[in-house]
């Protein structure tokens, strides 16, 4: 007598036990410690060396500036944040739609897809001055730069993901008599999600860059605008504060996208799959 279920349950149990390890925690602690150490050395260096504040402010001076100018900083952060979020949302919508179109229509695949891949080589940032001429100093040209920068990684990654769907799974569905749309919904779209998320992560990282460079070219508000103004007046602590805020924006967006990604594709990670509670 062989008890299949019990033997296999033991195997699964072992696998589950393995995931309680400390590596997850230390993977965060080490870089954090390194960052703190850098800040401490920086602070000490500036104090001992007596570096002039216009040349290199200490971390505490930057923190002081962040706090005392918080109203001004927030006003300009809000402008940049709006540009980033609006541009990102549009890019996500248009990018996913394009990818679905490419996967659904062979004509679109032959015409649009090569164009999109080729156009990735264009330095989009270089378009910012032209957009400034066309759309002025407002938010529109910055949003467009963000859209263009974010669109390509999203569209190309998702299109690749839709095409990379498992042939056996597609054949299985076809053998059941599934329609093209059912194959899309049941196999292609879910298997493209990890690709979409990695594209969305790249887009999150470049979106803040796009908005800030767009503001450098010409703006009346935004973190990029504040940076150029602070630099021209040698308000170096303020300059550092804006850099810190834009870095924080980029990281926050990246982390949010990564977390949403984990929620969307829990199966991508074996351990998480095993954790799902049995419902039968």
């Amino acid at each position: 007598m062989i008890d299949l279920a019990r033997r296999d349950a033991a195997a699964v149990g072992n696998r589950r036990a393995r995931q309680f390890d400390v590596r997850r925690l230390t993977s965060w602690l080490v870089p954090l410690a390194l960052l703190s150490l850098t800040l401490v050395i920086w602070e000490a260096w500036v104090r001992i060396d007596d570096t002039p504040a216009w040349f290199m402010p200490s971390p505490s001076a930057v923190a002081e500036e962040l706090w005392s100018s918080r109203a001004l900083l927030w006003e300009h952060t809000w402008t940049t944040l709006q540009e980033v979020l609006l541009g990102y949302a549009i890019a996500l919508l248009v990018g996913v739609t394009t990818a679905l179109l490419i996967a659904y229509s062979p004509i679109a695949e032959r015409t649009i897809y090569p164009l999109i891949v080729a156009s990735q080589a264009i330095p989009i940032i270089a378009l910012a001055p032209i957009l400034l001429i066309w759309f002025g100093f407002g938010m529109t040209p910055k949003v467009i730069v963000v859209v263009l920068l974010c669109y390509f990684p999203i569209a190309v990654n998702m299109a690749d993901g839709l095409r990379a769907a498992d042939r056996d799974a597609l054949n299985l569905l076809r053998s059941m008599g599934a329609s093209r749309w059912q194959q899309m919904r049941i196999v292609r779209i879910p298997s493209s999600l990890p690709y979409l998320i990695s594209g969305a992560r790249i887009a999150a990282a470049v979106s803040v860059i796009g908005a800030i460079v767009g503001e450098w070219v010409g703006a009346s508000s935004g973190l990029g605008y504040l940076m150029t103004r602070a630099a021209s007046q040698f308000l170096t602590a303020r300059l550092f504060a804006t850099v810190a805020i834009s870095a924080a924006l980029g990281i926050a967006l990246f982390v949010i996208v990564a977390l949403v990604g984990r929620l969307l594709v829990p199966w991508a990670d074996e351990g998480r799959g095993a954790q799902r509670v049995s419902r039968d």
Binding site: M1, I2, D3, L4, A5, D8, A9, A11, V12, R15, R16, D166, D168, A169, N171, L172, L173, R174, S175, M176, G177, A178, Q182, I186, V187, P190, S191, L193, V265, P266, W267, E270, G273, A274, R276, V277, S278, R279, D280
Partner: protein
């Protein structure tokens, strides 16, 4: 679930049963290159046929052609007496249950969600299908695992989940493409006995591809041997072993004789690849 070495009742004798699947003169080509040539094969209701052949000879292609995944260049195919190739208008997709060479479980779906795929595709009583799947979990050695993702299962469990999905497709004919190909020897033997047991209870008509001569002899009523590419059938032989079959039989005189005959047939194909008989 338990697998007893001695099944009490004999597998029903199927020789007198009706013809369920009849393939005649079937030829399949890919871009002008013939993969399967002039195959003639008859499978009766409730019969277990094993398809043996060297790698790349067109075993999967033959199964795909029967399932409707590829269109044959020539030949006829009859299912339950109805001619489906040449096409009679309606597509033949969805008429047989097909299990691809790898398990093809969708990693983002739980065992139950994978198993009830067919009901979802046909929009036919998903709730009833889930109910039936739950009832069958113990029989498939998956009790308590209905809500798990495939990644959390062992190889044998994954394969049984794929079997559950195939059985729940609710078709009389099962086309199985090397269902045990990816399993280790021990799991493979256990699974073979399990499948025999299941087939005994459910009585499907099975056409199963395998590389393994022992597996073919242990399971099948009839063994069909294919030539090297372009594959055609070079021999169709009944398995002369009594049922119920057990793993112990691999040591029997009759088993060893048939095994060496089949191996000799296969070896001829390895020696002269591509040649016609």
């Amino acid at each position: 679930m338990t697998i007893s070495k001695q099944t009490t009742e004999d597998a029903p004798h199927r020789a007198a049963a009706a013809v369920q699947l009849a393939v005649a003169g079937l030829t399949v080509s890919f871009d002008g290159v013939t993969a399967v040539r002039n195959v003639n094969l008859t499978v009766h209701q409730g019969e277990f046929v094993a398809l043996l052949g060297p790698s790349g000879c067109g075993k999967s292609t033959l199964l795909n052609a029967i399932a409707g995944l590829v269109e044959p260049e020539a030949g006829t195919l009859r299912l339950d007496g109805e001619t489906v190739v040449p096409a009679n208008g309606a597509s033949r997709l969805g008429r047989v249950a097909y299990m691809p060479q790898r398990d093809a479980l969708l990693p983002w779906r739980t065992v139950l969600e994978n198993a009830t795929l067919s009901a979802e595709v046909h929009r036919s009583g998903r709730a009833a299908a889930l109910e039936r799947a739950r009832e069958l979990l113990p029989r498939f050695g998956l009790e308590g695992f209905g809500g798990h993702y495939p990644a959390a299962l062992s190889g044998g469990m994954r394969q049984r989940a794929a079997f559950l999905r195939t059985v729940l497709t609710d078709r009389e004919v099962l086309l199985l493409d090397e269902p045990f190909g990816a399993l280790d020897a021990l799991t493979r033997r256990t699974m073979q006995e399990w499948l025999l047991d299941l087939w005994n209870d459910l009585g499907h008509t099975i056409l199963m591809v395998t590389h393994d001569v022992e597996e073919a002899l242990l399971l099948a009523d009839t063994v069909a041997v294919m030539t090297a590419r372009p594959g055609t059938l070079k021999a169709v032989a009944p398995v002369e072993l009594p049922r119920p079959r057990t793993a112990d039989m691999t040591a029997d005189q009759g088993f060893i004789e048939q095994k060496s005959q089949l191996l000799a047939l296969l070896r001829e194909e390895l020696r002269e690849p591509g040649s016609a008989p």
